[in-house]
């Protein structure tokens, strides 16, 4: 699709932005925008193009500047006094019809590239100055009036009439060729700096006080021969071409649809010449004939913008640009391969301190997305701006590691014909705050304990515990220092219930047989370290069980059966037992199924185990 020419005179800034967008499907880590910003300035200094200037008459004080060309076939160019005309390129195609190209008095005309086919270049006197920088060709009547100054910088060819009026000064810097009649009038000064080529007849009519200064070699000593060679030069085409070709392509791994955006801009400015003849110049007897050529020099600048958008397949295009590029390097120290980051974002968290402390901070963020909008190329300017600000913070705890993880996700939206800007501001801060309490604290616990022993023989058999003192609060409770008192009740009795008013009582007239066992059982754990150290531990709340294992013999049948009846009636229930030492116990008979044996006629043996604890 070709766009309209922005017009002559130049194209302003050309800004192109090409963006690709795609849908995040979880596999794309980052979407990068390919933003291209171009600015091109094409300035066509075609200020104006004057193909025919009827009357170009700079007024007094006017300073026209002719940059390119003046294609004035018929031109009345009159430089009035004090006017300054500067012809930078070419003054051409004045096909003999330059009537009145007469820089007025004190006028200054500067012809920079060339002046050709100027029929009449009448530089009047009175300080009129005409400077021909490049060449002057086809000047049929070149008349320098009095006090006029004409400087031919490059060469002068095809000058038919070059009349130097009195006191006029003509300076030929390079070549003066084909000067047909070169009339140097009175007081005129003609300085030939370079050479005269094939001057047919240049008869300077050196009038009185006219000076002819020849700086160069005269070909013939006899006569002053000026050889003027006329050459035809063809203007070269100056082309200014500016081609701007942009190819923007968005690539992604997962293709759904693709958008290709090709923008080709070509800009060219050319100056071409329409040859319309050739310039010939023959020098014969100082007669120079030259022909004017009509040449048209044009410079144009055409800017062709072609912008094509081809949508093939999906609308959304994702451009994936890895934020980080990694490479695998070999570590000779560990003989392993490790990945190192060569380019992109690198994040580093360093924890310093007496001990290794780390903090983990994970930043999750979302970035808004803009949809794909198709905008006509000549539509309104639309800007899409995607700003993503990421704040990241790493904290150090007493126990954890400091890890600075910065996850980036950026999306760019392609909008055909518009520019999209994606501003990504990344700020990552990993701060390690270590609170070090370096104070060392050691609690020294000193406890005092004192014990004693009494060396007496009867201490081995008497109730004589030697209980000292201890300041250790964790020391076990020492045993009683005195014998527990017996209960007020006597005899061996089984009483139900254990507390309160008795509802059932069984008295056994005999004490249990010798061989009774007072069993003390507790929960205790033993551990052995690898070094063989034995460790024993028992929690104070763990149960401690005391069991009385009793056996009665020589019971009469009534007592034996009553015992079985009592155990059967109160099986599993807590009972109170008064033992043969008048000690009170409260517990449960744990083996009521033990048999009662008649050892001999009328003599029974019974046994039971009472699990309980002694009562005060």
């Amino acid at each position: 699709m070709a766009s309209s020419v922005l017009g002559s005179g130049g194209l302003g800034d050309l800004v192109l932005g090409d963006v690709g967008t795609g849908e995040y499907d979880g596999t794309i880590l980052a979407v990068a925008e390919d933003s291209i910003s171009l600015s091109q300035d094409v300035v066509v200094n075609a200020v104006y193009q004057r193909t025919a200037t009827a009357a170009f008459s700079p007024d007094n004080g006017a300073e026209p500047t002719f940059r390119t060309q003046v294609g004035a076939e018929t031109t009345d160019l009159l430089l009035v006094p004090l006017a300054v005309a500067s012809f930078t390129t070419i003054v051409s195609a004045m096909s003999g019809a330059v009537d009145g190209f007469a820089p007025g008095s004190t006028a200054v005309a500067t012809f920079r590239p060339r002046v050709d086919a100027a029929s009449d270049i009448d530089i009047p006197g009175d300080t009129a100055v005409a400077t021909f920088r490049t060449q002057v060709s086809g000047v049929s009547a070149f008349t320098l009036d009095a006090t006029a100054e004409c400087i031919f910088q490059s060469r002068n060819r095809g000058v038919s009439d070059l009349s130097l009026a009195p006191e006029a000064t003509a300076v030929f810097r390079t070549i003066n060729s084909a000067l047909d009649p070169l009339f140097i009038l009175t007081d005129a000064v003609c300085v030939f700096h370079s050479r005269f080529l094939e001057s047919h007849s240049i008869t300077p009519q050196v009038l009185a006080s006219a000076q002819l200064v020849s700086k160069f070699v005269q070909s013939t000593p006899h006569s002053l021969t000026l050889t003027v060679e006329a050459r035809v030069y063809r203007l070269y085409n100056v082309e200014g071409e500016s081609t701007l070709s942009l190819d923007d392509e968005a690539e992604r791994g997962v293709f759904r649809r693709s958008v290709a955006h090709n923008l080709a801009i070509s800009d060219s400015a050319g100056v071409f010449l329409l040859p319309s003849g050739k310039a010939t110049s023959t020098l014969s007897d100082l007669s120079v004939s030259g022909s004017c050529q009509l040449k048209t020099v044009r410079a144009f600048n055409n800017i062709t913008l072609e912008d094509s958008v081809i949508v093939v397949g999906p609308i959304y295009v994702t451009a994936t640009t890895p934020i980080q590029t990694t490479t695998t390097v070999f570590n000779p120290a560990t003989l392993t391969f490790s990945s190192t980051i060569t380019a992109g974002l690198a994040d580093l968290a360093t924890a310093t301190g007496n001990s290794v402390r780390h903090a983990t901070s994970i930043v999750s963020f979302e970035d808004t997305r803009a949809g794909l909008v198709h905008v006509r190329i000549d539509g309104a300017s639309v800007e899409a701006e995607n700003s993503l600000e990421i704040g990241h913070e790493g904290r150090i705890s007493e126990q954890a590691d400091a890890t600075n993880t910065l996850a980036l996700a950026d999306e760019a939206i392609a909008q055909t014909g518009t520019s999209a800007s994606d501003l990504l501001t990344i700020s990552s801060t990993a701060a390690a705050r270590i609170s070090n309490f370096d104070g060392a604290e050691s609690i020294l616990a000193i406890h005092q304990a004192a014990r004693f022993t009494i060396e007496r023989t009867c201490n081995r058999n008497d109730f004589a515990p030697a209980i000292g003192a201890s300041s250790d609060p964790n020391a076990p409770e020492p045993p009683p220092a005195s014998l527990p008192e017996a209960s007020g009740d006597t005899g061996f009795k089984l009483i139900y219930p254990a507390t309160g008013l008795a509802t059932d009582t069984l008295e056994i007239p005999r004490s249990p047989e010798l061989g009774n066992i007072d069993r003390f059982q507790m929960d205790r754990i033993n551990r052995e370290t690898r070094g063989g150290t034995l460790l024993v531990y028992a929690d104070p709340i763990w149960p401690k069980i005391t069991t009385l294992v009793l056996r009665f013999s020589s019971l009469n049948p009534d007592v034996a059966y009553a015992l079985m009846t009592f155990m059967e009636d109160h099986i599993g229930e807590e009972i109170k037992v008064i033992d043969w030492e008048d000690r009170a116990w409260k517990g449960v008979i744990t083996n009521p199924q033990d048999p009662v044996t008649e050892d001999s006629p009328g003599s029974f043996t019974a046994s039971f185990e009472l699990e309980g604890e002694r009562q005060p």
């Binding site: 250790d472 007072d518 003390f520």
Partner: protein, 145 residues
């Protein structure tokens, strides 16, 4: 204390003090009955390779030994011992045996059985109605000091 038990005094009392190291309570016992036992707790496992090489795998216990004493106590001493066991059955003990050797260790027996063995030779002491003898076996593991 002499390491060679033969050089120790034979008439020394058998003392058990607890809790170690802040010793507070001491119980004096008569000498244990004969048939007391002492054994090494270290163990060895032997493996023999196919070529006949014998490999031994030893578990050392820092020279910890296992001792077993049988005591016959009076009724009152039995009550005192019962009280002592109930208080320090899980505490570290310092034992000075009848040979004067000092051990630091723990009771390892569970349960403690105080068995009425026989009648005592004389009347009960300290106003107790009966005079009986009780037997108790103590198993102890400790390191000689």
């Amino acid at each position: 204390m002499p390491l060679n038990p033969c050089d120790a005094q034979l008439e020394s009392n058998f003392e058990i003090a607890a809790p170690y190291p802040a010793l507070q309570t001491t119980i004096t016992l008569p000498r244990p009955y004969l048939s007391d036992q002492e054994s090494v707790t270290a163990s060895v496992t032997t493996k023999r390779a196919t070529d006949g090489t014998l490999y031994t795998y030893v578990k050392r216990k820092n020279r910890r030994r296992k001792l077993k004493w049988d005591f016959t106590l009076s009724r009152t001493k039995t009550i005192e011992m019962e009280n002592f066991v109930k208080a320090y059955f899980a505490s570290q003990l310092r034992v000075r045996d009848h040979r004067g050797r000092v051990w630091i260790g723990y009771f390892t027996i569970n349960p403690f059985d105080f068995t009425g063995k026989e009648r005592a030779g004389g009347p009960a002491t300290q106003d107790w109605p009966v005079g009986e003898k009780y037997t108790v076996s103590l198993e102890f593991e400790g390191i000689q000091q």
